[in-house]
């Protein structure tokens, strides 16, 4: 699966050379890099998940990177130096992601885009902590990666949304509805692993922060890969809650929604499904219930900016598919990287890291047209977060309310203090 931007990556070259009787050279490294220094491409390695259950997200991340890199190269690159992407499949195995990262680094990539979700992301994080390679984590949403000072080091940046930001925004939005409709009895249904537990706990925490009299009367936790949700659906039916929170996602959310709809649950309670508004999910639910509250993962209609709509249109035209949350994050990583490259004029990692710190760029995905790489913890802020309600047809989500970043910053700071991280 070596990609269109530059055919023949390092491994293929390695095979060719070995078969030409240059085995020793192939083992000791890839000396081709040494030649042609002047116009040598800027090489970016990217392990991500291209097969298995999460493949569709990894593929969308890859596609978005390629689309944006092609744009940068077509405009002349960095003084004529194009970006060459080396994208490899980790199959969702963290150890494999770490190995690929190591391999890419020893093959001499200039920058690493880590396209793994949290589990693989932390594995890659440990690798680059040791090697000092400039790394952009583009799909790790676990807040601890940048919020916990022990996890921070100079060469790692996060270009992804973050659990704590989503939880604050969701809590604020839900609290408004709780007050308006007097929703006191809540239940939760979230996946029984770290992401599900953390995100749910944070959401409930902020919901209670704004509306202290909310009660969680029951919880149900489907397992990873659980094929059927009937037992969880009937559990919700028994609890008769006024509102339900869920951070189930993708295929699991789709199966849950279908089963819950058959049990008539959507007419009984208000549903808050933080991960609903992503095209991979919206497109698969055959009869999308009206009025489910959801945060935006990725929507072409939100933020309502021409640049965002154009991004979705270009992506759709080229890949015959819709962008995902992993797609806008990947595109943003390219935008930030190319901005830093232009600022520095070269690929020195220390200089690039210094340029990235605090860098603000125009972005189709920004809450007010811009996103920022916050200097203090090297993580992306200012991206658009909004909550709205679902409708059965395009654009699928209406009445989106934009989260207020100054409020997010304030509560995020308090949360960090509570954890002893600030």
């Amino acid at each position: 699966m070596m990609l269109k931007t530059h055919p023949g990556g390092p491994s293929r070259r390695g095979i060719l050379m070995a078969s030409a009787g240059l085995g020793a050279v192939a083992v000791t490294g890839f000396p081709m890099i040494a030649s042609g220094q002047g116009r040598r491409p800027i090489r970016i390695g990217m392990p991500t998940i291209l097969s298995g259950r999460v493949a569709q997200l990894g593929i969308s991340s890859r596609d978005a990177v390629l689309m944006e890199v092609d744009k940068f190269n077509a405009e002349g690159g960095l003084d004529g130096r194009p970006i060459e992407m080396i994208i490899r499949d980790s199959r969702g195995v963290p150890a494999e992601a770490a190995r690929l990262a190591r391999e890419m680094i020893s093959d001499g990539v200039d920058i690493l885009f880590d396209g793994e979700p949290s589990s693989g992301g932390f594995a890659v994080h440990e690798v680059v902590r040791e090697t000092g390679t400039l790394t952009l984590h583009i799909n790790t949403e676990t807040s601890a990666m940048s919020a916990d000072p022990r996890q921070r080091f100079w060469n790692a940046f996060r270009v992804a949304r973050q659990g704590i930001h989503d939880s604050v925004a969701g809590g604020v939005y839900a609290a408004e509805i709780v007050k308006a409709r007097n929703l006191r009895r809540w239940m939760t249904i979230s996946p029984d692993y770290a992401y599900g537990r953390d995100t749910t706990a944070e959401f409930v925490e902020y919901l209670r922060y704004f509306t202290p009299d909310v009660q969680v009367v029951g919880e149900t936790w489907p397992k990873l890969f659980q094929p059927d949700y009937t037992e969880n659906v009937t559990r919700l039916a028994q609890g008769r809650p006024q509102a339900v929170y869920s951070c189930l996602w993708a295929g699991d959310l789709v199966a849950f929604v279908e089963q819950a709809a058959l049990y008539g649950l959507f007419s009984q309670s208000q549903y808050f499904a933080v991960n609903m508004a992503d095209y991979t999910t919206l497109k698969q639910i055959k009869q999308l219930p009206r009025g489910v509250h959801s945060g935006n993962r990725y929507l072409s209609s939100y933020p309502p900016q021409p640049a965002n709509a154009a991004f979705a249109r270009d992506y759709n035209r080229r890949f015959n598919n819709y962008p995902t949350n992993w797609a806008w994050q990947a595109a943003t990583a390219v935008h930030l990287t190319t901005a830093a490259l232009k600022k520095v004029g070269g690929t020195d990692p220390r200089q690039l890291a210094a340029a990235l710190k605090g860098l603000t760029i125009d972005s189709p995905f920004g809450a007010d047209g811009k996103v920022t790489m916050r200097a203090e913890d090297q993580t992306l802020v200012g991206y658009a977060i909004g909550w709205g309600t679902t409708i059965p047809t395009e654009p699928y989500v209406e009445g989106i309310q934009t989260a207020n970043w100054s409020q997010i910053f304030q509560l995020e700071q308090e949360w960090k203090k509570g954890k002893g991280w600030a």
Binding site: F225, E231, A237, Q238
Partner: protein, 300 residues
């Protein structure tokens, strides 16, 4: 653990109706997969670790058939017959060669098949999870019986799976084919010496087992997401069912499957975080007390 909740549920008719109907429906779906597994094991002596793959294929066939015709009947038949045909194909080309081979051979062939089919499915249908639609008639608001909730589609599932279970029992118990199969399970050489083409019997049994898994996949496609690799979790559950029921026993599989279904539905109320553990616990207890399973005749 939430025993108070469980007690109050057992004491309320509405809760009982909802949980029992859901548990039985899920249990019967599981039975379809497990019965094929146990049948193939009983007659062919083959532990089909690739049985979950057949379930997954059933779902994909049904999904495509429904998208093409919009008929639930056609999609169900496509899932069942398509997987039966596929089963026949792999039985003739692969499994036929490893009857009587050691478990390692069986395991490796199945493992290879899982690897290959997960990728083939990905090439044909893409790596994204998919969802099959269902007829609007099934989408009506659920029935309220004694205060409990029973969706129409679950009633349909319940009816179809129960009918198939009964048909299977009749077929195995009362027909000439069933008697031949049961005899072949005990001693295939003797059956062959009586002039029965055991090759045909074996192929037929594998096809029936595959068809049952395909049917389960097709029936559950409208309510579960369809994705490459979806077979594994189903495989583990159906193995638990066959171990509890007794390898090779269809009756045992039925009892065990219903037991698992009810454990899941009541477990989610009384032991929300330990429902899965409960199933394994039941299996461990059965293995310690009666290793051959509830209805098992084969000594373990």
């Amino acid at each position: 653990m939430d025993l108070g909740e469980l007690v109050s549920c057992v004491g309320s008719l509405s809760c009982l109706v909802t949980q029992v109907s859901a548990g039985l429906t899920i249990g019967l779906l599981l039975f379809l997969v497990a019965s094929g597994l146990t049948l193939i094991f009983g007659v062919l002596g083959l532990v089909n670790f690739a049985h979950g793959t057949l379930y997954m294929l059933g779902a994909y066939f049904a999904l495509s058939a429904y998208a093409a015709t919009g008929s639930f009947l056609v999609s169900t038949l496509a899932g069942t017959l398509g997987v039966a045909t596929f089963g026949l194909l792999i039985e003739r080309t692969l499994f036929r060669r490893i009857y009587g081979a050691d478990v390692l051979m069986q395991l490796l062939v199945c493992y290879a098949l899982i690897l290959i089919m997960d990728d083939v499915v990905k090439i044909i249908w893409g790596g994204d999870f998919l969802k099959m639609d269902m007829p609007d008639t099934f989408r009506r608001p659920p029935f309220i019986i004694g205060g409990g909730i029973v969706p129409l589609f679950y009633l349909v599932l319940f009816g179809v799976t129960l009918a198939v279970a009964l048909l299977l029992a009749l077929c195995m118990g009362r027909t000439r084919f069933g008697r031949t199969v049961r005899a072949a399970a005990v001693n295939s050489t003797m059956v062959a010496s009586l002039g029965v083409n055991t090759n045909m019997v074996f192929a037929a049994v594998f096809a029936i087992g595959a068809a049952l898994a395909g049917l389960a996949g097709a029936l559950s496609a409208p309510i579960r997401s369809v994705v490459p690799g979806a077979g594994v979790s189903i495989l583990i559950e159906s193995f638990i069912v066959t171990v509890i029921g007794g390898m090779g026993s269809i009756g045992g599989a039925l009892v065990a499957a219903l037991l698992i279904g009810l454990t899941r539905s009541f477990g989610s109320i009384g032991f929300p975080l330990f429902t899965e553990g409960l199933m394994f616990l039941m299996m461990a207890v059965v293995l310690l007390l009666k290793p051959s399973g509830l209805a098992g005749k084969h000594p373990a």
